[in-house]
């Protein structure tokens, strides 16, 4: 029999957010286990509302932190104050900034809204404070922090969270909107309900602490411990080469508490193997997303301890998984792809086996030079250009540390020192490099792209992927001949699965004829739905387009309108088609040509200057 308080708490959450019962249960478990929770999902599916409702319904002192690009850990945890002291001994005065704990330092339930928007340095520090529940020498009363974030592949404005940061959240759940998840029946029922604006308060601090203590006191049967370990081992096996986050911190430290909370919720006298099912609330970002449909099965096997036969069946399940990948593979399902090109079709990334290292055998200096030149173009795009004549950055922000006084506006700094500006001076906001951007690589795989050229093109793609990975860019990858094949991951064309694209880059394919219109059209259609500056296409080709519009007029115009720079690389012996130059010139992209010499080495030139790109080539010396 579940404790009535917990049933009431679940009901209170459900009264505010309809149809997200898993998330509500996950939050209740997190609260009872005194662990932190992370909710990921598209905008408007009730993430923040759930977090807020939890704080209110459980009667805790609640606080909320809204994250933004300029949030610093100090801002989030409290208020930076100025302290001025007389220095009687030496004469004069000493000015220091100090941190005064703010409302979040007193909170028992803390909502971290839009967590991924904060810059990495603020997050690292904040999450450490949350994990230790300690700020300086002061113990925080924090019981449960609930973080929300948008889906990582859709966020153009934020860096994705890292595993280190995610691991601090024991409970992790992926939410889907009712409509998005096609739960139309539940969606219909929502229309008949009058959702509560505020959750009813059903617990108080004393009751809450009593529940937490009851959960912590539940003993964990040896069979349950064994089942937990079996489950983690099975997850590791199932994830295989894909990165999984099966840390000791999560599964040895946090998991037992979650199981205890689950047992309490079930009203069981002790933790039993069946409670291992609660691990599903911990897995959203710890195992590859593609594994999600298999998780219940894996957990059930671990609970029942019947590994031998079923493990053998796993590969079959995996095959099935790639078959029903979110992006339809080809043919009939094309209608679902929101691209108006007849030729373009999607291929699932999952169908390609990941490769440990995609560094090919012909890794020439020429490739490095070309990639370096392109990387330079990508980086340049990332730095903000101001219009100020003096070249000074125009944006200001508040001062956070006293050593930033060097960056302060001189007049502001003076006012600050005189004590007339107690909040600190305004300092220049510096433009940051290495922050995102979008890159589509279009690679010609027509029949003439074979042997050395294909290998070389693969190297260039791999180099670009590494550049993209370093800058955390979102990547899209298209191979084209007479038609264009887009490789999507998890339904999104632009994504950060760099290793998968590396694996693709090392494939050799050479068939069909050349068409520039199809790939450009397919890629630009995707750029239409992305935001932000810093958008690039790299087009690699060895031939003259014989299909589609050879001048790609409408695509050039579209690229200009969207602000996408198209860089072109021509490979091979023939004449570089003028259209490549036109495309790049119009869109402010770079233009390269790479020609094999008599000794078989490739020489790379930037076409504008018609002089060799500086290389560290061994062959040239």
């Amino acid at each position: 029999m579940s404790p009535p308080e917990l049933t009431a708490l679940q009901a209170a959450l459900a009264a505010v957010v309809h149809g997200q019962d898993d998330a509500a249960t996950g939050l209740v478990l997190a609260l009872v286990a005194r662990e932190h929770a992370y909710l990921e999902g598209p905008p408007g599916c009730g993430k923040s509302a759930l977090g807020r409702a939890l704080g209110r319904a459980c009667g805790a002192r609640a606080a909320e932190l809204a994250f933004h690009r300029d949030a610093s850990a100090a801002d989030l945890l409290g208020e930076v104050r100025l302290r001025r002291e007389r220095l009687p001994a030496r004469g004069g005065e000493r000015i220091a900034l100090e941190l005064a704990a703010g409302p979040s330092a007193h909170a028992e339930v803390l909502l971290l809204d839009d967590l991924a928007r904060a810059p990495g340095e603020a997050l690292g520090l904040l999450l450490r404070v949350l994990a230790e529940r300690r700020l300086g020498r002061r113990a925080l009363p924090l019981e449960c922090a609930v973080a929300t974030a948008g889906p990582p592949d859709l966020e153009s404005y934020a860096d994705p969270l890292e595993p280190t940061q995610l691991d601090r959240f024991a409970v992790q759940l992926r939410l889907h909107g009712l409509v998005g998840a096609r739960r139309f029946g539940v969606a219909r029922a929502l229309l008949d309900r009058e959702p509560l604006a505020d959750a009813p308060v059903v617990l108080d601090t004393e009751k809450r602490h009593a529940l937490q203590a009851r959960a912590a006191a539940l003993s964990i049967a040896p069979a349950a411990r064994a089942a937990l370990l079996r489950a983690v081992e099975a997850l590791a096996r199932a994830a295989a080469s894909e990165p999984a986050l099966l840390s000791d911190r999560a599964f040895a430290r946090a998991a037992p508490r979650i199981l205890q909370a689950n047992a309490l919720l079930r009203g069981a006298p002790q933790v039993e193997p069946a409670d291992v099912r609660a691990l599903r609330f911990m897995l959203a970002r710890r195992v590859p997303e593609a594994l999600e449909p298999e998780l219940p099965g894996i957990l059930e096997e671990a609970i029942a301890d019947t590994p031998s036969t079923v493990v053998g069946a796993r590969p079959a399940a995996a095959v099935e998984r790639t078959g029903q990948a979110p992006a339809p593979s080809s043919g009939a399902a094309d209608a679902a792809v929101p691209v108006d090109s007849l030729e373009a079709h999607n291929a699932p990334l999952d169908a390609v086996a990941p490769l440990a290292a995609a560094r090919g055998e012909d890794e020439g200096a020429a490739v490095e030079a070309l990639v370096a030149a392109l990387a330079g173009a990508l980086e340049r795009g990332a730095v903000e250009r101001g219009d100020d004549p003096g070249g000074q950055p125009r944006a200001f922000r508040r001062m956070r540390r006293l050593d930033e006084i060097a960056d302060a506006d001189p007049v502001d700094a003076q006012l600050f020192v005189e004590g007339r500006q107690p909040h600190g001076a305004r300092v220049y906001r510096r433009a940051r490099r290495n922050a995102g951007g979008v890159l589509a690589v279009l690679r010609d795989v027509s029949a003439s792209m074979e042997g050395r050229l294909a290998r070389w093109a693969g190297e260039v793609v791999a180099g670009l992927v590494r550049v993209g990975a370093r800058r955390r860019m979102r990547l899209g990858y298209v191979e084209f001949n007479h038609e264009a094949e887009r490789f999507a991951a998890g339904g999104a064309f632009f994504h950060r699965r760099y290793r998968r694209v590396l694996a693709l880059a090392s494939r050799r394919r050479a068939e069909g004829r050349t068409n520039y219109e199809a790939p450009l059209r397919a890629a630009l259609a995707e750029f239409k739905s992305t935001a932000g500056r810093d958008r690039h296409i790299v087009l690699l080709s060895d031939g003259v387009p014989v299909l589609g519009d050879p001048a790609v007029r409408s695509e050039r115009a579209l690229a200009r309108r969207l602000g996408v720079k198209v860089h072109t690389v021509f490979l091979g012996l023939g004449e570089c088609p003028a259209v490549l130059d036109e495309i790049s010139r119009e869109t402010e992209g770079l233009r390269f040509e790479a020609r094999p010499r008599a000794d078989g080495r490739l020489v790379v030139k930037e076409r504008e200057r018609a002089s060799p790109v500086p290389t560290r080539s061994k062959g040239d010396s």
């Binding site: 990495g120 520090l125 450490r128 595993p163 411990r225 911190r249 999560a250 933790v271 020192v417």
Partner: protein, 311 residues
């Protein structure tokens, strides 16, 4: 004194399951006054061990979480402004000063996630660590313990510069007990947490003092290194260079590390074992130095190579 070191080891064992290598390496680093670099995935107790080792010795302790915007000024204390009146009628002067703190006053510092810091801050920091000097000022630092995540797509880190990596005499990989597939250790770990035997925020009573560590360091110099062991050290280096093709481009077999610090570590291991003489088995400690200094596939073979040479 050895007793104090033993108690520190016991303290580590009380709080952290498994990770024998890392515990031994941390003690060695403290005794030899060398810096240590631990690399491993999130949640594998790196930071916890580093923190325990540092706090368990009653030493000035400084913890810093590195990030992409780390500035050197955050590591050396608080920046303050000072206003001083000048001579009568000449107004006042305002200047920036540093109130020493952080790595300038600590005996042990833990630099968490070191590979996230930007290169320029790191370079200066590591020079300070190496020389144990800031400006003209000698700092009391004994050991810096750095941790980092492995280099992978998912982490925002850049590889440490080889020269920077060389500042850390001791280097090792830590892996999670669960992920490394060590069933017994994983079970022990789960049991410990499941039984509620873990203190979440241990503030251990110090078991080792600076005086004891200073005495240990003095004793280190008196430990005898027999000629045969020196021969074996050179033999190991010869084999690495000649048989395994370690050269100056793919490896970091620097004289500083392998002719000076290596001997110190050999002595340190003897000291920890309570001996006054380096023995053949102590050679094993050298594999803690090669982890990231030779190519990965060679590093994997070093323990076997050392055994072969010792035999």
């Amino acid at each position: 004194m050895k007793h104090g070191l033993q108690r520190l080891r016991e303290l580590l064992d009380d709080h952290v399951v498994g990770h024998d290598d890392a515990k031994q390496a941390l003690l060695l680093a403290l005794v030899c006054r060398e810096h240590i670099y631990l690399e491993g995935p999130p949640g594998s107790a790196k930071t916890r061990m580093a923190e325990l080792a540092a706090r368990g010795a009653s030493l000035g302790f400084f913890f810093y979480q590195m990030h992409r915007d780390t500035r050197l000024s955050e590591l050396v204390g608080d920046v303050v402004l000072e206003r001083r009146p000048l001579a009568e009628g000449e107004g006042e002067r305002i200047h920036q000063a540093i109130e020493p703190g952080g790595i300038l006053t600590a005996d042990v510092c833990v630099l968490d996630d070191i590979s996230r810091a930007p290169g320029e801050a790191l370079n200066v920091l590591l020079r300070v660590l190496n020389e144990r000097k800031f400006g003209e000022r000698q700092i009391p630092l004994l050991t810096a313990i750095a941790t980092s995540n492995p280099l992978r797509d998912e982490y925002y880190n850049e590889p440490l510069d080889p020269a920077n990596l060389d500042r850390f005499a001791i280097q090792l990989r830590v892996s999670g007990l669960i992920q490394s597939g060590d069933r017994a250790a994983a079970r022990a770990l789960v049991d410990r947490f499941a039984d509620g035997r873990v203190v979440e925020q241990p503030e251990p009573a110090p078991v080792l003092s600076r005086t004891q560590l200073d005495a240990a360091y003095a004793e280190l110099a008196r430990i005898d290194v027999p000629a045969a062991e020196k021969d074996r050290l050179v033999e190991l280096l010869r084999r690495l260079v000649v048989d395994y093709d370690c050269n100056e481009t793919n490896s970091l077999l620097t004289d500083r590390s392998f002719l000076v610090k290596a001997v110190k570590l050999l002595r340190g291991r003897a000291l920890l074992a309570g001996r006054s003489r380096v023995e053949r088995g102590d050679l094993a400690v050298l594999s803690l130095m090669t982890t990231f200094r030779v190519p990965e596939e060679v590093a994997a073979k070093v323990p076997a190579l050392i055994e072969e040479i010792a035999a």
